[in-house]
Subunit: 769 residues, 2 copies
């Protein structure tokens, strides 16, 4: 027991440590059994749409082909790692067809053992498959169908360096790391019963479930009346016996694991089903710890709540800083193991007795009180009290300790009694599936990124393309698969485009000049640097519909539309107004029609969209206010640009616009009457986006594709005015307004009306992933 | 004579016409004979470095292989067209080796006629060559060596449309155009004698010059005692007889030219050497008029002054608006031709008599007075008085009319008498060559563009790549040759680079992350979004040299350098200062050494530059003030970023900086002592740029090239800190600071010390031109 490490809590006095105490790196692995609509294990292959399970970094199968495994990358915040996991759930759910993800650690309805399929990995995975067959023989396939969550955790490099410095460590960084992590593991082993007590979520199995007894080899029903976690109990997902491993230093730890394998007790070291494991880098340095004690939480779509993860992190830090009174002896280990088992099997019993490390029996409530005050003390010392997330987690779990009946395990048990094991979990599974579909546009934990970027990341996640966020506020990410790397900003600014094409698009004047020269119709016109010249050009535009505008338009300021231009004075005044907003203006022909956005990838139009102002459709009964409330319930509508559409507001601008129509919020529109609440069609003020990709006459798509080709552009959002999309393009019934070099994709994926054009997938296709 | 067209001057009452009256399109073609250092025609082939003369749009040969022809594209201002011509002179001069451009219309020392080479155009140009051989037989090769200037002019489309509308033209636009241009030509023919009188510049030939008489076929000396323009005289570059052409409508014009060819009087219609010709588009529409009456002005580097071109334009407009009293009959034509000939041959005679169109003899001074007042009257009516350029041109030529002895022709004559024909012109040729070299960094007429863009355009001009300016203020141009088009902004933002590479460079944080990952050394460090975290990280940087700076640095504000960082309070204060300037800061290691700019094209380093602060080198005699004055004489130094270097200032900042060294402007530095006048090394404050491309250890070039490769960048300006450029790079003696996506090229082409790295040429190479 290293003195410096044991007393590391002293460093908590130091502001520098406090500032970095919650820095960490987190990862989650989770399994769910796929089930059919009545709760039977799905006996189908792993869905091909989720990519190559052998190479996919995020989605694979576990023991069984029917067991989906989700793996997050290492991430630097609980919010991100939880969000990533939730998004994995969403993406998998959306791509499972009629199947569902089973939200409970204990299995659904299983077929006969021989029909439980071991995951297939083909030629390359033959080793893996062999190993799993041996496990099936040893543990029974039913036991292997138990599913759980692994929480991976390491300290941040910054915190580790600060700690090393603060305690004046005299050895090298590797030794320090080793001492630190082993201490954390030892304390974790000692106090892990608390996590089982708090987070156990597998109190009762389906009556049909029988598992091979590891002692007798016979199939047996599972269950204890007061269990909180059958999965982590001695009857659950465990080795045949409790193997003792020496955690006091790395060498002895490795030695004891090796002995277990050499003696034939374990097939491989990974068969050692410890509640916590030390993980290594390829270069044998310690990478992180893997906490394997968490059951799936059926009340959470993603199987674990964010608040539980915050507590887990807190608990790991507690274990790191908690002073050890003694070496972690075999005696202590045995006591810790017993405590774990007792809690797992009888954790619902308020009078349960555990043992302290002196071998004294202590009532569970006393044990809880003691450790709670110890953790609270640590939180106080460490300054984590400043962080609301951790404080909430502490408070919530304090509440469970003070009110044990509030624990999830009890609720699960009660619900099973009410609805039956299968039905209860099946209903939740269905609910989660719907929820996943409703947040299809979102990458949880990364909601601060633009929706377009979130969508691109989701597509990457589905197909197993890894990504890194290089500059979050800029939506700058890199995408990786094998040797291939691509850098993408704002989802559509990619290496596909060459710089000069982008510069052409960025400059409306240049775009127009080039398109016009190539025979594409653009609003023709002239640009002026001085007002005198512009004012004197009335003749040139007399009798024509024109728009007079500052060269750089901002929110429409300084723009005048003259539909007939037959008054020279009005014309001159409009010129002057435009010059008040810029030192250069444009006089352009007025183009009639509606504006459509064409999304073009590699000279192919992949989406056509038109926006209409905020509106409601009457039913002859409801008021405008009621209709708006109803329309706003759509999960696509939110506030603050974090959803594809914005909620329609009932504010002054809307009231005024209605007033102009002799209406107000309480008016009742006739059945099928459409009432507009705004003049402008911006999505940001509640406008609707409507997909016309299939309805529009193909001639316009050809023009859009040709325009992209002329500018040498691979990805663009082209805005075109069109008089009538059902009629073919002539040389005067359309005009291209501009081409955007960073067009949004989410509007085409989640329009108000129309289908998802999956532009995120198409961009990844174009990038060659 | 169309009434509406004849009375078109009425439209001058209209503001709309006045506002556009000087709008026009202009072009110049000019020939110069190449001569050797003693004034003999150069008997060498057209220089290969000036590209393929058969396809070059700007530089070719005329009749003789020894005669360079320069052709500007059509441009919309006199300033541009004159600048383009001047730049053509510069570029050709710079690439002629020891040869010079002969600045006089009349030829230099010619060899025997058979040794005057007809321009070679190879297989493709065989027709052209044949025609020229026939001309040689007919006119004698010596006559074909006369050189001149053609001024091409058309009205702007805008002015033409306005005029058409203003006079309520009842026919179509083509008829209007025809009537307009023919009227302009007729009046030009009538009054052209004025231009000869004003701008004749070939009063006397070299005594050695003999030309074939078109009447007798014998070789004869040329000259009249009072000639102003031998070239445009009847003995000069003219048809064998005066052919009369009917200018009254387009059909009769075409018919009369056809008759001349059909009758064998002309080989081709282009042999009709009229003082003005009508030019057509490929679709037979009128394109412009070509005025062929101007001699080379020996007193101008480019052969014609800008002010003369403004007057030419004015004169063309005068001809357009001037009412015709009568049809342009054969009688009128004959009188006009005679007037021309008399002025050409005897224009220096103040008592010369011309004829009016009634056949009366009128003294030249009266004729001049009359036309001057007529032109002034037009200028008054047309509102051109508002335009200083035209007013200056009018005033200058009025002065010549009032003081005929001020005319160039007289000066030329006097100088020839003083120095001899050959010496006088040879000295001027040498002077122009030096001037061209000194303005090597400039594209005249386009000085408002960035120097990098001017240089790129010069390289394009040399190799015959056409270019258009798409957005002048943005330095956005397109380059064209054959089917190939490239769009370039600011000289270095091209299609070679892909968008995501540019975005990586644009984001310093991302650049660093990517380079660092690839093992390239960058200043390592951390970025912070909140001050508390940054302040608490003192430990991590204790004892290290660091730089604390706002993420987006602006003129160095908010940056603190802590060379040893051993005081926590100072560290925290520096963090706070940085946060005062941005909501995100960087703490980076301090990198020692000097900063070098590497210009990389296609993973090859093409220039390495280092900048030093404004300085002077003492000679033990001169004061700092005198040394600065001397250093500032360098033509590379100017003010306002229009030259590669800026003049060193002697202002407060410099005075203060000297004061710190106990010096002032009157101090006398010792011989070879270098005195700095500024701390910062910016070029904008008089700093020097020094080329180290050949001196730097190659290992740094490899690193720069590798960095470009890692980011997938084709063109970049990479900034690297280097401790000692003579020693090879290790993993700690350099660091890359940033990579610029729009690096300047002129600094590498015109450094204070070192050779021209011709990056403009290299970029065009890279673009495939």
């Amino acid at each position: 027991m290293n003195h410096l490490i044991n007393n590391i809590a002293k460093t908590l006095a130091c502001d520098s440590i406090k500032a970095s105490i919650t820095d960490g790196v987190f990862g989650i692995e989770k399994e769910n059994v796929r089930v059919d609509e009545v709760g039977r294990m799905a006996n189908t292959p792993h869905p091909g749409i989720l990519g190559d399970k052998f190479r996919h970094p995020f989605i694979t199968t576990d023991f069984s082909e029917s067991q989906v495994e989700m793996i997050t990358p290492p991430l630097t915040s609980i919010a991100e790692v939880h969000g990533f996991l939730e998004t994995l759930n969403d993406v998998i759910s959306e791509n499972l067809g009629d199947e569902l993800l089973w939200p409970q650690s204990l299995p659904p309805l299983l077929p006969d053992e021989e029909q439980i399929p071991i995951a297939k990995f083909g030629e390359e995975g033959i080793h893996k498959e062999k190993y799993r067959e041996e496990l099936a023989n040893k543990y029974g396939k039913e036991r292997q169908m138990l599913s759980g969550i692994h929480f991976n955790f390491s300290l941040s490099d910054r915190l580790e360096r600060k700690l090393c410095k603060a305690i004046k460590w005299d050895g090298n960084q590797d030794n320090f790391r080793e001492a630190l992590y082993l201490k954390m593991i030892r304390n974790f082993m000692r106090y892990r019963w608390l996590l089982v007590w708090l987070f156990g979520e597998s109190p009762e199995a389906d009556p049909s479930l029988k598992m091979k007894s590891l002692r007798t080899g016979e199939k047996m029903k599972m269950g204890c009346r007061k269990a909180v976690s059958i999965r982590t109990s001695s009857a659950g997902y465990r080795n045949a016996e409790e193997y003792f491993v020496d955690f006091n230093c790395l060498a002895s730890y490795k030695e004891s694991v090796k002995n277990l394998v050499d003696s034939g007790k374990l097939l491989l070291d990974e068969e050692l089903y410890l509640p916590i494991r030390l993980k290594f880098e390829p270069n044998s340095q310690i990478s992180h710890v893997e906490v394997r004690i968490l059951d799936l939480d059926p009340f959470e779509k993603s199987g674990v709540s964010k608040i539980s993860l915050y507590f887990m992190h807190l608990f790991m830090l507690y274990c790191l800083f908690k002073e050890e009174e003694d070496k972690y002896s075999e005696t202590e280990q045995k006591i810790a193991a017993k405590n774990h088992d007792w809690v797992a099997c009888s954790g619902l019993n308020p009078e349960l007795l555990l043992k302290d490390f002196n071998g004294n029996n202590i009532r569970i409530d006393k044990m809880l009180q003691h450790i709670l005050s110890d953790i609270k003390n640590f939180v106080q010392l460490s300054g984590i009290t400043d962080n609301k997330n951790y404080l909430d987690a502490l408070n919530k779990n304090e509440d469970l300790i003070l009110n044990p009946d509030k624990r999830s395990s009890l609720k699960v048990k009660q619900q099973i009694e009410e609805e039956g094991f299968i039905n209860f979990h099946l209903n939740l599974a269905k609910k989660y599936k719907t929820e996943s579909e409703m947040s299809g546009f979102r990458f949880h934990g990364f909601e601060d990124l633009e929706l377009s970027s979130q969508l691109l990341m989701k597509a990457a996640l589905r197909r197993g393309v890894e990504f890194k966020i290089l500059d979050r506020s800029e939506n700058f990410i890199s995408l990786h698969r094998g040797d291939k790397t691509e850098y993408v900003m704002q989802a559509t600014r990619t290496s596909l485009d060459n710089y000069s094409s982008v510069l052409m698009m960025e400059n409306k004047l240049v775009t127009k000049k080039i398109l016009e020269k190539a025979g594409i119709r653009v609003p023709c016109g002239l640009d002026y640097m001085n007002a005198k010249q512009a004012r004197s050009d009335f003749d040139l535009f007399e009798g024509k519909g024109i728009v007079i505008k500052p060269k750089s338009t901002n929110f429409g300021l300084g723009i005048t539309i003259l539909k007939e231009n037959n008054n020279e004075e009005v014309f001159k005044r409009a010129v002057d107004i435009a010059f008040e907003h810029d030192n250069s203006i444009l006089i352009e022909e007025f183009v009639a029609g509606k504006e459509y956005r064409f999304f073009v990838i590699n000279e192919k139009v992949t989406g056509v969209l038109h926006r209409v102002p905020a509106n409601v459709k009457g039913d002859g009964v409801k008021t405008i206010r009621e209709l708006v409330t109803e329309k706003n319930k759509d999960s696509l509508r939110g506030r603050g640009y974090r959803t594809p559409l914005e909620k329609i507001r009932l504010e002054e601008a809307e009231a005024m616009f209605l007033e102009d129509q002799n209406l107000n919020f309480e008016s009742v529109p006739a059945k099928d009457e459409i009432v507009y609440l705004r003049e402008n069609s911006n999505i940001s003020t509640g406008g609707d986006s409507i997909d016309f990709t299939d309805e529009i006459h193909p001639s316009y798509k050809e023009i859009a594709a040709k325009s992209a080709k002329i500018l040498g552009v691979r990805i663009t959002g082209l805005d075109m005015m069109i008089e009538d999309i059902s009629k073919p393009a002539t040389d005067h019934n359309y005009a291209i307004i501009e081409m955007n070099f960073n067009p949004a994709i989410h509007i085409h994926c989640y329009p108000y009306q129309g289908q998802n054009r999956k532009l995120n997938e198409k961009i990844l296709d174009a990038l060659g992933f």
